[in-house]
Amino acid sequence: MTGRKESFATAARRALSDETLRGALRSATDLFSLRRQEAIDGVEDWEDLRQTGRRIKAETLSRLDQYLEQFTRNAQAQGTKVHWARDGEEACRLVAKIARDAGAKKIVKSKSMTTEEIELNEALEKEGMPPVETDLGEWIIQLAKEKPSHIIVPAIHKTKKQIAELFASKLQTDPSANEAELTRTAREFLRREFAQADLGISGVNFAIAETGSFLILENEGNARLTTSLPRVHVAIMGIEKVIPRLADLPTFLRLLPRSGTGQQLTSYQSIIGGPRHGAGGEGPIELHIVLLDNGRSALLRQSTTRQALACIRCGACLNACPVYQQVGGHAYGSVYPGPIGAIITPQLPQLAGLEKALELPFASSLCGACRDVCPVKIDIPEVLLHLRSTITAERRSRVEHLAFRVWAFLMGGRRRLLWARRLGRLLQALGLLRLVPPFSIWARARKLRPLAPKSFSQLWTRNTR
């Protein structure tokens, strides 16, 4: 392989030698997996649920244009302003314009991976309108000026001690504070922000075509505050988030919290149907939603890649993945890490240019643990193999190509194979086999004696004489 593969490997090696990180990852992913299993054990038709989830998503994606149009019509009928963005930059421009037109002085934000994907915070900061993250994990990494390392628990890579020290240095609080005290600090600080907020930005978990409303799930209450206190609410969603009917929601409400955090349900679901209605109404006066493509529509072309759009962003695949469990999210170099990240990062143009993007489909042992836990039955290994094939076809490695030509030649005739074997045994006996690629890569960390003193065919010939 070319030198490119080394950079994920380098990042992984760095993560592997970070004992604190590994400890944090180990306990978190173990606990998540345990809680998920306990939650699923309480459901007698879990496999049926998964199949239903997969079917609903497949049906929606097969007519995505019509469901998006239906959603738009119904949303607009409630007074919601619907915007469309072809790519991340257009989405950021739209949000900035809405904020400027609203004269927003204080912007609060609830957790949204889509906004991380399009780097919305950076775009708004450049315009002099920095949003304040209000989800505890997101606020922690905002203070630390880091990227999230998990799609559900952004600060999973940090220990309580590290977080306490971070708060102490930024907010002059007690560096030995416990989890409850740290949470209280966040609550008090962010409450002051909420008190003045005039614009709230959120993501969307599911948009319902039938009603033109959309759902946000959470535990903390910050999304409810973000979407009900300020005068203006802007929601951003990938176009794949739409589902046909309200009646489809319970399937996903049964699948997502169990898969993501091992809960039967998160503390709050907000189904937002429109801006404030009439004089006696509550909530924002203006409601905007931005429908983002950013490369998603292209994935519809082939059924292999289309299934990646079924993802409901639960994070179960991350917790199950033996690679993610060892190295964590930052090693992937993308806001979407883990198995789902490995299949969407190389396919979304905004992320495909990231340094490690094209290595990610190769950073897997294809064990299939992700496929087993995916609530909507995405066959992630199938997509990984597909991507390996397309990436290799486009970025043919001369060395690898030559190696396969040599191999094909040697395997092409019995005499050639016998001579290759004799040569191999000689090199092995001299201890030189470990210098020959690809054996050299294998031999870096393992013993190397692939060739037996006598081959099977030699033994057979001798014993059947």
């Binding site: 995505l64 019509q66 072809r86 209450g221 009646a247 319970p250 493509d293 072309r301």
Partner: protein, 209 residues
């Protein structure tokens, strides 16, 4: 072409011009959960599930008892500022209060609601399957009263407890609906559970027979 047209065109091109939906969406393939039979069973299941996630439940037989329960809560929490929704049931219970508390209406300014210690609302429905409350914004002004104060008390007539999430969705309340299952929580720090983050840290449900 504007963004909408371009995106829709891209979708259609990649899908290879899919067949149109005949008169609305295809029939739902979701399975509705089997209904939990009697009202009594739904009530018991609701209480069990809500307690599992850290909410408290109390079954009462009159609004007088509800007023007494609230009085006790004020005494225990030493609260003096009560935010209330515009529900007639809530107003009735509040009229029967013995405690001297400052009342904050739902349409009060944000700063006053932020200063309230208890928020008292009704709920439109309960869901037995999950121990959840369903708050429909077009029926009652309780969006902020149920969210800002650190203690949320909700009163719910037991006949309003539905069996499943599917039953709740069938209500199609329109506008904004909030489903509340227990107090607010987080596990963002080392996955240690902390109850009471941005939303209330206590949820008390008064169930009225």
């Amino acid at each position: 072409m504007n963004a909408r047209e371009e995106i829709l065109a891209s979708i259609r091109k990649n899908l290879g011009d899919p067949p149109a939906l005949q008169g609305g969406a295809a029939p739902s393939t979701s399975q509705a959960k089997a209904a939990v039979a009697t009202r009594e069973e739904r009530l018991q299941e609701f209480c069990r599930k809500l307690r599992q996630v850290g909410g408290s439940t109390e079954i009462l037989t009159s609004t007088k008892e509800a007023s007494a329960a609230l009085d006790l809560l004020f005494e225990q929490s030493r609260a003096t500022r009560l935010a209330i929704s515009d529900s007639p049931l809530v107003q009735e219970v509040v009229r029967g209060l013995g405690s001297k508390v400052q009342l904050i209406e739902a349409q009060a300014p944000r700063s006053e609601l932020l200063a309230a210690e208890v928020g008292f609302t009704s709920a439109q429905w309960g869901i037995a399957e999950t121990g959840s409350l369903v708050l429909a914004s077009d029926r009652e002004r309780h969006r902020l009263v149920s969210l800002l104060p650190p203690i949320h008390v909700a009163i719910l007539p037991v006949q309003q407890i539905l069996g499943s999430l599917d039953d709740a969705m069938a209500k199609k309340t329109g506008r904004t609906t909030t489903i509340i299952t227990g107090p607010s929580r987080t596990a963002d720090i080392e996955l240690t559970l902390v109850v009471g983050v941005h939303g209330p840290r206590q949820l008390h449900v008064l169930l009225l027979r």
